[in-house]
Symmetry: C2
Subunit: 221 residues, 2 copies
Amino acid sequence: MSRRSGVLEFAVLGLLRESPMHGYELRKRLNTSLGVFRAFSYGSLYPCLKTLVGQGWLIEEPGSAPEDALAATLAGRRAKIVYRLTAEGKEHFEELLAQTGPDAWEDEHFGVRFAFFGQTSREVRMRVLEGRRSRLEERLAKMRASLARTRERLDDYTLELQRHGMESVEREVRWLNELIESERAGGRGASRRSHDPSESTGGLPRDRGSSRPDPSDDTTK
Amino acid sequence: MSRRSGVLEFAVLGLLRESPMHGYELRKRLNTSLGVFRAFSYGSLYPCLKTLVGQGWLIEEPGSAPEDALAATLAGRRAKIVYRLTAEGKEHFEELLAQTGPDAWEDEHFGVRFAFFGQTSREVRMRVLEGRRSRLEERLAKMRASLARTRERLDDYTLELQRHGMESVEREVRWLNELIESERAGGRGASRRSHDPSESTGGLPRDRGSSRPDPSDDTTK
DNA sequence: TTCGTCATGTAATGGGTTACATGATTAC
DNA sequence: GTAATCATGTAACCCATTACATGACGAA
């Protein structure tokens, strides 16, 4: 009955910070914006929302979301429950944003943390990126060591699997290197709300191809 | 009290097929050979072993493992429990090996399945590789679609995260392409026990650098 | 003799999914 | 009118981890 997830909680607070939403929409954003890394179901989302309300970090409002402006005025409309971040919730989220340490750069957390780098101070961004990098380098060292010990006893496929796994990690390290360099270079602000057009957040190297827009079917298969 | 994992069960059966082992060693191999993808703890391993014994797929033997030859003869040695695959267990594993379908190529399963490709028939290998590839391509399509829809509303970091995620998937697809090509090219046997030196399992493209052996500390940090 | 690692386990807890139940709204 | 999708929830289960408890053995 507690449902204190960490990742889910963080993501929900982060998304609601941008704008109030109801559960259904929240879930969609969770599985696209933060996509690939995690997909949550209603079975975890709704209970989580409940506990966040219980904490005083969220309040439920009857459907008065911007897009509902018209419909809301009409009678008998089934009340979509819109969740809005409270002041306490905002404060709590700031604290979470400021945290560094393993809970920021381990596999389960890093993705979400990165997704909200737009609201994160540059110092924290740096610590998280560097933390993750050294975590991965540690992992690489172990992999190399274990590979050196067991190379002969392994069949081709197991070996290929490890090689590919290691390359994946190496690739992420290179990615982190670029990001860290960008952060160092782009010496601008502590950056809140990067929606703000007056400030481009870092010097992120973008548009290296790969994302040819290719309109196809809807999100949920 | 059931502990029917799928992944863990499969991996345990697969490793024990190669040679009998006790739990402790099993766990180490689990976290290196099949490394990166999953790490299991005793809290899941031992109960799993119990249920596998219950199914009749494993038998417990008092410590008579090869390396224990000397020690075993001595009195009062604490009996390491060595687990050995039974005939039924072997049969069951063959069945698991032959299975194709989502349970073979979804994220949680693919790694382990690949790790035991050495014991898998070429037809099944092909189906699994192709299944995974089309799964990933499906995923790519969704990502591209959702990106096309939301590109403007996203901040730089979220965008960068998605770009990197997509590139990762694209990279795995290329990897699968190479593997599939190799499988097609290396027209050799149904391949059991690739330890056998008389048969190199496919035409796996190896040694593209990346794995400079670098002796360092032991497996468990 | 104490520390590290080998070795085996259990109970409590965590964090999530699946399947189910319900009903409103929209598009065809 | 009927199918899809929007929308909210709950209960049962799943798979695994953490922390704990226990103890033997080898080396410094």
